[in-house]
Symmetry: C2
DNA sequence: TCCGGTTGTGAATACACGTTCACAATAAGC
DNA sequence: GCTTATTGTGAACGTGTATTCACAACCGGA
């Protein structure tokens, strides 16, 4: 082993990085302390100098992913004032994030992380909700300034936006990177954009939300 | 134990059912032969009378899920000739399928199943592709008869359709059934429908697919 | 009725993993 | 330079797991 003694903050960073790498390569199931330790040149027991348990380490990793997701939203919002354009940029940033962090979909979609740990599920749901709130915030801004349709609530549109990326991300991980996420995003975006844009202001259509419209079976 | 001797086909059905139930409750990670055996009133070793290995059992389970997914598509197509209406029905059937088979998203999205087993990944990708092909088939029909826009390829639209369900399904599992999948589907469908409908025939817009349009960063 | 194949059992095996602990080596503060 | 807290090591432990095997009970057909 390297036998080198480093400060605990440094090791913690190394360990979370290594964890992300292992999860990217072998999934959450394949995540073992041995594999993480090997990657940073430590023995499994040394990990316990920096994290009280494997679970605590995973929590730190999730926190890092959360920061990156929120960072993407903040960056997209900072770049432009046009909400629709902000969404387009967020889409690009998010696909890039997925492509550079194969661990992200695995961590967030795999149930290993939260099953049997209600507080974990709550945390993960919080990450999702936070992201969706961010997207919904952009959308609401667009609804206020009239660029985005107001007959569908912002949250639903935010989830629809997530649908722009998620299946592509799944296909991408499943195909081991062969599926063209970026291409799919480029193809799907115009469709989405057109769908959320408010109908042209001149001709005010009946934009009443269709309440419980039920077409006969 | 029940001590009852049943034919192997019956046991195989019971075992796949039990596996689905266990995965629904405890995820793929929490799937153990012991748990499955307990659920059907057998000992773990008895399972080997009906499946050569745990992996083989999982394969059978995936096959069952594949059948149900394809069944949903076939049923939706059989019910109507209108492609857009078929998609709407498929959406309903799919959400129902997810709600009744919590194991479905877990099996299909968790990487436990396929990581480290390239042939498994291939199989799972095949399930996805088969489903997408089915959806794309409906869409292509709509493109031929002019009800669905032709400037975006059917596959991309099919993936977008999947995005209508998948994030909702994830939120649903994550919130332990509290999230309203059906409501989300109802809210998102009109948006999707309007997005894929071909622009009204009278005013023929320039519907050339934008090839590599790149907006400056 | 008898017999062979099928189904079920419980004990045993082998392995991987998280975690603990006593001890060694090193860095930091006085 | 001495002391003390920090960091790293290797061995050990306990647990949960898939899988195997010898044996028992049973069903179905001759």
């Amino acid at each position: 082993m390297s036998r080198e003694k480093l400060h605990t903050e440094v090791r913690r960073d190394q360990l979370t990085d290594a964890t992300l790498a292992v999860v990217a390569d072998h999934g959450l199931r394949g995540l073992s302390l041995a594999a993480v330790a090997r990657r940073v040149g430590l023995t499994p027991s040394a990990i316990y100098r920096h994290f009280p348990s494997k679970d605590a380490m995973l929590d730190a990793v999730l926190e890092r992913l959360r920061e990156r997701l929120h960072g993407a939203i903040a960056a997209a919002r900072a770049e432009t004032d046009d909400p629709v354009e902000a969404l387009r940029r967020l889409l690009g940033r998010h696909t890039l994030l997925v492509r550079h962090n194969r661990a992200l979909p695995r961590m967030v979609l795999s149930d290993d992380y939260h099953l049997g740990h209600p507080e974990r599920r709550q945390r993960l749901l919080g990450v999702f909700s936070g992201y969706l709130d961010g997207v919904a915030g952009i959308i609401r801004q667009g609804q206020r300034d009239g660029s985005i349709r107001s007959d569908v609530n912002a949250r639903s549109l935010a989830i629809l936006f997530l649908g722009l990326i998620q299946p592509a991300g799944v296909l991408w991980t499943l195909s081991d990177g062969r599926f063209d996420v970026t291409g799919q995003a480029r193809a799907a975006w115009p469709v989405f954009e057109q769908a959320i844009r408010a109908p042209a202001p001149p001709r005010a259509r009946a934009a009443r939300p269709p309440r419980s419209r039920r077409t006969p079976s």
